[in-house]
Amino acid sequence: MSEEQGKTSRKEESAGLMKYSAENLVPFGPIHPALKEPEYFKLVLEGEKIVEVIPRIGYVHRGLEKAAESRPWVQNMYMFERTCGICSFVHSLTYGQAVEGLTIYEVPRRAKFIRTIVAELERIHSHLLWVGLMGHWAGFETLFMWVWRDREVVLDLVEAISGNRVHKSMNAFCGVRKDMPSGMEDRIVERMKFLADRANYYKQIVDTEETMLERTEGLGKISPDTAEELCAVGPMARYVGLRRDIRLNDPYAAYDEVPFDIVTRSEGDVHALLKLRLDEMIVSANIVSYAVQHLPDGPIRVKIPPVIPAGEHSSHSEAPRGEIFYYVKSSGGRTPERVKSRQPTMANLPTALEILKGQTIADVPVVLTAIDPCFGCMDRMSFLDIESNRQWTWFGEELRQYGLNYYFPGRAKKR
């Protein structure tokens, strides 16, 4: 390279840096794949304020869509169930629905009810997990302990029904693999009442407890129009008042036979999300109680041949985090031609990037947790100050402490 060329490229480089001259670039993540799901965010800061967020995901991309193309239809159902360790059932449910649409067989009514029960139990467990983590990141450890204790109640029920706590493997094509154990109705109804009571109590707490109010109120605001444009799904659409819930918009399983209404809020901040998810738990508990008491008799499964007729079909359903979408294409063989799966966090990421703009570093954990992502991204943060060329790294706990000190300086000192 001649000297002249070298000069220009250096000039261009410094011009590139000049763009961020008054701002800091903060790489956020990626993290320890073994523990939590990693995402990586490059935060561009202006002092404490975030002006731009650039995402980079894929650190645990396992190529499921490619793998599905060489596996039998049935095997894929249990593989896709392993996409997520929290909302696993709904993945196999949606994939199953997409494949069932290509066949001529109908799902028995009893199986539809059992699917509804397990899906709602999963929603309660996922929302409880989220409320607990929200308490942890906001600095309210007691809430975390309480909520995770209550989560065991749901997990015990799931274990009693399916035999597993997380990967239920309940689904089969055109039905479910296991029938509901007999004599469990009263127990389930009683536990659901307990959980609804607890959710009501937690609603009171988050409304009165200063820690939660200070860390969540007025945070993460977005307008309904922007949320709609960014294709937000699930609670991230409902907390600004959009009535978007596949259970109601496009009923699947037994949702058209169960009376329920979805919850929406209009405030559009993280505090509204907290109350929304707690309210949704109560709705889910009522759905489970109703479905258990009105469980119809009949077969739980129709056996279908291993070869699926040619065609293409898509299906979507409401996971705890929002809309899950599956598209399948069959060429009439024993393996799919193409399977496309889209998870709700992917759909909510553009919205999260939008609401992060204008927040401070101290609020990053709370706002990012608010979309209910996989929290891996908070494991480690490294900072780069372009002006002084200073670089430092924070671990998740240090970031949490920074957030706590920022909001409650006195209390942190006492500890």
Binding site: R56, K66, G101, C231, D250, Y327, R338, K340
Partner: protein, 160 residues
């Protein structure tokens, strides 16, 4: 409600000279030419209620790469399908119409090497590693084999 939406879509499809087929009840497939796609999506989003984009799917169709945009409203799903040639896979980005499409387009860019004109983030990767070799075929094409990818990326595990 759904009847009105279906009529609207059929009208839009006819105006864009696109083929519209009813796959089954509540599911419509509209095959649009790449040049007409942006206009069609714009009118679909602005004039009908089907404005929520679920995702974008890429497909290996042999000679071509298929791109399907999945929209829905209530009980109706609308698949908008378009194709781009495999030799020169460039498509028009719809990010200016549906901002939520940005990550889905990046995903197809990674997995099928389709260049979306107008997407501001086409210069970076979203899912694939930064060290992905340039001469390796994009992973979701039927011609690329997982064993070869593992070997090239140094992920081959020795079996005892």
């Amino acid at each position: 409600m759904s009847e009105v939406l279906l009529q609207q879509i059929e009208k839009l499809a006819a105006e864009a000279k696109a083929k519209s087929t009813q796959l089954r009840k509540g599911e419509t497939m509209v095959e649009v030419d790449q040049t007409q796609l942006k206009n069609f999506v714009k009118r679909l989003v602005k004039e009908t209620l089907a404005r929520h984009l679920s995702t974008i799917t890429g497909l290996d169709l042999g000679q071509n790469i298929g791109i399907i945009y999945h929209f829905w409203h209530e009980r109706n799903t609308i698949h908008v399908k378009t194709t781009v040639p495999k030799e020169k896979p460039t498509a028009f980005s719809i990010v200016d119409i549906v901002p939520g499409a940005i990550l889905y387009e990046m995903e197809i860019h990674d997995m099928f090497d389709v260049e979306f004109i107008g997407n501001p983030w086409m210069d970076r990767k979203l899912l694939l590693p930064d060290t992905w070799p340039k001469d390796l075929p994009p992973p979701l094409l039927k011609t690329s084999k997982p064993a070869e990818i593992r070997k090239r990326l140094g992920l081959e595990v020795e079996r005892k």
